[in-house]
Symmetry: C2
Subunit: 137 residues, 2 copies
DNA sequence: ATAACTGCAAACCGTTTGCAATAAG
DNA sequence: CTTATTGCAAACGGTTTGCAGTTAT
């Protein structure tokens, strides 16, 4: 959380074009989990000439650089969030598509436990919980 | 596990055409998590005139009837498995795409805990863990 | 008989890519 | 100046759909 997305991009030596700066800003300001279409809409408000292909390319670049996390919730389109956001997990309401964020210390432990059990080693702290059929109670 | 897929289909009053019977059989015999293309290949060995559109339609029908579970691992294509298989979870190796099945009693507890915490009610026992970056250790 | 199902091919939707023009370092 | 990046439009891959013909009940 110390550095901005732009700063982290520069740190990694990415060529920061005007388009990339705009997309970085949009992502910086996003408290939700926008998909590419949504990022494109928000970026277009700042620069209406930006193309959706560039958004796709930029988001892929940032993901590969570890600056963004790509979230795939099984609804067809990928969503993105700042990789440096405070750690949390996601629960998707399969009926509404709504994304619920939460933190649970037991999940952290579980990550380790399952990984160990299976002879794998965790890299970082990325765990998604999804597919739980939910009903508001 | 008492009933076969075909029997469960009939129980639900689904019209069982020759194509649907074949797909039910293929699914019955699958110990893995085939995608539609794979189901189509296997079904084609029994009846080469079957069309992939029918496989898509059938798999959707069976999923909506609760006979199949649709698994979306974020690799673009959906995978399917018998909904009545013994309960288990999936872990996907993000590098190889390999699917690892496992059971962990703590996950069962966690399902309840998280759902309660968020004011939701679990329907059944569907929980997928995915997106954990893994490295063989 | 008749309503549901099939195969085919075209459409669809999110994403990627080839290309010629443009801009960053 | 040189190489990376852009916008456009076409292509892509998985999935859905309209239609005319076929099949289960």
């Amino acid at each position: 959380m110390i550095d901005t997305i732009l700063q982290r991009c520069e740190q990694k030596g990415l060529r920061m074009t005007s388009q990339r700066k705009i997309i970085a800003l949009v992502l910086e300001d996003a408290a939700d989990h926008p998909d590419v279409e949504e990022l494109y809409k928000r970026a277009s408000k700042i620069d209406p000439t930006i193309s959706i292909a560039t958004v796709y390319r930029t988001v892929k670049l940032f993901d590969e650089a570890g600056i963004l996390d790509k979230l795939e919730f099984g609804d067809g389109r990928a969503r993105y969030e700042d990789a440096e956001r405070e750690h949390h997990d996601h629960l998707i309401d399969v009926n509404s598509g709504r994304v619920i964020e939460f933190v649970d210390s037991d999940i952290e432990k579980l990550q380790e436990k399952i990984a160990n059990k299976l002879g794998y080693k965790l890299m970082g702290h990325k765990l998604e919980l999804y597919g739980v059929p939910l009903k508001k109670s």
